[in-house]
Amino acid sequence: MKLPWNRHRERDWQEEIDAHLAMRERWNQQAGMPPGAARSLARRQFGNLLHTYEDIRAVHVRRWLDDFLLDVRIAARSFRKSPALSSIAILTIAVGVGAATSIFGVVDPLLFRSLPYPNDRQLVSIGYFGPVDSNEFNVVASYLDWRARQTAFQSMTSMRAGSQCDMLADDTPDRIYCQAVEANWLRTFGLKPALGRDFTPEDDQPRASPVALISYGFWQRRFGGDASVLGKAVIIDDRTVRIVGVLPKSFEMPQLGPADVLMPEQLNPALPRAANASSFLRTFARLRDGATIGQARAQMQPLFDRTAKLDVPPELRKEVRLVVRSLRERQIHDVKTASWMLLGAVVALLLLVCANVANLLLARATARRRELAVRVAIGAGRGRLVRQTFTESLVLAAAGGTAACGLAWALLHIFTALAPEGLVRLNRTGFDARMLIFALVASAGTALLFGIAPALVHPRAESLAGPRVVNAAGTLLRRILLSAQVAISLVLLTSASLFARSFWKLESQPLGYRPAHLITASFTLHRRQPRATGAQAALFRQIEDRLKTIPGGGLAALSDSIPPRGSMGRPYSNIRIAGHPPVAAGGGMVEFRWVTPGYFRVMEIPIVAGRPFEASDRGSGPSPLILSETLARRMFGLENPIGRQLALDGDGQWCPVVGVAADTRNNGLTETDPEYYRLRMDNSNLPRTAVALFRTSLDPAVLASSIRAEIATLDPRLPVKIETMETRVAAFRQQPRFLAWLVASFAAFGLLLAAVGLYGVLSFHVARQTQEIGVRMALGATPRDIALQVQRQAGLWTALGAMIGFAGSLAVAGMLRGFLFGIAPYDPVSLTASLLLLGASAMIAAWLPSHRASSVDPMVALRHE
């Protein structure tokens, strides 16, 4: 136990004993001993120094500990005497700290906990950033130059955009996630295989014999954790691959994608630059020791400028820039603001708890003024009493904190159950030591904060003179605390109602298509299936024809992607109108889908001009086009687009516009991007993924087996995912719903705390004023007057808090802008509703005490005290 106060004390003890030894030594010398012998004898005569120090320490520390234990006992006793107040205080702490801890548990892995790589702060994601992707990417040609010439990083590594692949091991097929990575992948991230060996540069040569590392989970799941898997030959997408190692258990891909198997990506510098410039990568790097991201970016800029000129198509060049950002930033970018916002709500809630408990303790301190005054009168020092007050706060915090841990554990389970699928890392959250520490620190911190207020009110022996010496400072402090509570809870309420309103808008938002009774079946062709343009289109056509035969299926269409998900967009500047010069870059992206003729009918998207696609359009020649209203308006203004010719993607093929379709929410639930549709022709170069759409009243499960049976006749191993459109749409609502739900529960807790606080303080006030009320009633005041007086007090404090809270709400609402849909941040409805709700709660909280005040019997009250 080396507390600071102990350290200087111990120096004192040592000096005292050193003095003793010196005096003894001198004494021995005077008795005629040589100096050395005199010293050693002095030491021997003293005996065991260490034991002596121990004994002295025991004298002091025991005393300190005894005092503390005594204080704890006094505190416990006095809390037992007022069980209502104590349980409200403990409950308040439990709720506040518990909620705060669970939220901390959710955001901790996102914001604070280190990523599962050694020296994770050195890891960055680097690449081109442009409108085609929400994350930075790279192309092989540029990357090879960067890797060869860069000086900014210790190491740079890359992966290809991953995909699903088919594995055949021991004659059992599996559809799994394969990722192609560079040989130095694990080394760059500072990891080693759990079993077997890492990739070598030889493995990464083009045409080297294929090897693979498998993930720990896949090893357990598929091979039962058998070490003999090393050296095993499996077939992946028709190639024989040898398994050489198993990834560490905690391994995760830096972009958080799924990975069952890693294989060397085998970049080929010998290919023509154009080929390597259209082959995409994700690139990551490790900073040099002590280097910053800013320095690395500055060093990479010249290299970037050079390769951008070579590899980025001219029309996109102005729209791409270099991005170097930390791996954490890359991973949590989407939820970062939300996480900080939740953390803000947590702090607000903890402050509310502090204000509330401080207020309760203040009220109690005033009630105990006589007791404390007696202790002062019999000689208790100010310091002793302050210590006592803080011990009481700590006892409360300890009780509340313990309950809080239980609550946090329960809440965390509720969160994980309610949270949407994609919420980063939430699935990996569990109640752990870090949360426990947070709960401890939060309860101890709040204890210190709410302990300050009662410690400020210092009792004086003079207050023994009369019971009605009003402690003005204490009363003022209580009012300020109460107004602060009202203000904080109003801010929470406004945020919650903004979220709720925004979510409600989102729910009732017309999508531009009708999700009810729509069933979707998505599938992706195997890599080994035909790649030749015509053959692939023909295979899709075959599948389409088969699916049409399902009785009651009502198949109308096939598309490569469907809303609410966005499509593989194209830059606006890639579209040319015949007879017009190309438009400048910077026009953003346009959604684009390959559809069959029935698409608009099955989705119930109205054709507002021209005509839909027809089966007869599907022969050869350029595919006809249908534009969305937004795109048509943007390109042609008020002119009629029908019959105009457009060139897409700079391939020089002119396609006729045959129709204009109504707008849909085509990139999430809120965005209406410009969009064009191309007809799936028999010679189209289609993506390998397709979604079949059925409008039917059949049970999805029944339809699913028919769909699977039909597809199985063409390819028994093609996996098909069947979902209703409503499920797909609901997936997009999950995250806003989760956020709205979280903030709303915070606001509910906050409102409850503020109401309890108001109620507590008013009741206390009424109890203190019983005698005064009695006198006033005896002098002719009606119960109504008394009730009004109490309510006026409540109204005054609440109004003051509400004014501050209103200003705070406006400030916070501005920060929430990015989360809101369909309403302005200064939404009058939300602000008014929150104010009304707060006012109503305040009125209810004030009603009981005011009612009690008005029913005071003057005769009883005057005899009181």
């Binding site: 005292e16 005096m23 003293f46 034991h51 004298v59």
Partner: protein, 111 residues
């Protein structure tokens, strides 16, 4: 006196020696050992290992007052003196010790 345990007695004895020695004059720890040894003609010796913890405990109990002062040789040492409570305690301890000694003496003579 009948309920006095040996440990209490011994600790009581050390306390008595300290109190008595300091009643003579304020002193530091080394001075107390010397004083006890000389006054008892070398019959009693205070163990330093017990002396200092005892001094600290008695100071905590407000029987003694400790302060840093210079010795006659100009060295800093911690000097102890009796407080009012210490003087009162000395009187009690002397009574208690005398009656204990008397009791033991009678018992020895009788046996």
């Amino acid at each position: 006196m009948a309920n006095m345990r040996p440990a209490d007695t011994l600790q009581g004895a050390l306390e008595l020696l300290i109190l008595k020695s300091l009643a003579h004059r304020p002193n530091h720890g080394f001075g107390i050992t010397l004083h006890v040894q000389t006054v008892s003609d070398g019959l009693l010796r205070v163990e330093e290992g017990s002396l200092y913890p005892a001094l600290h405990r008695m100071e905590k109990q407000k029987l003694l007052r400790g302060e840093w002062r210079k010795t006659e040789n100009g060295r800093r040492a911690r000097w102890y003196s009796l407080t009012a409570a210490g003087r009162k305690r000395l009187a009690e301890a002397e009574d208690r010790w005398t009656s204990l000694a008397e009791g033991v003496r009678r018992l020895l003579r009788f046996a």
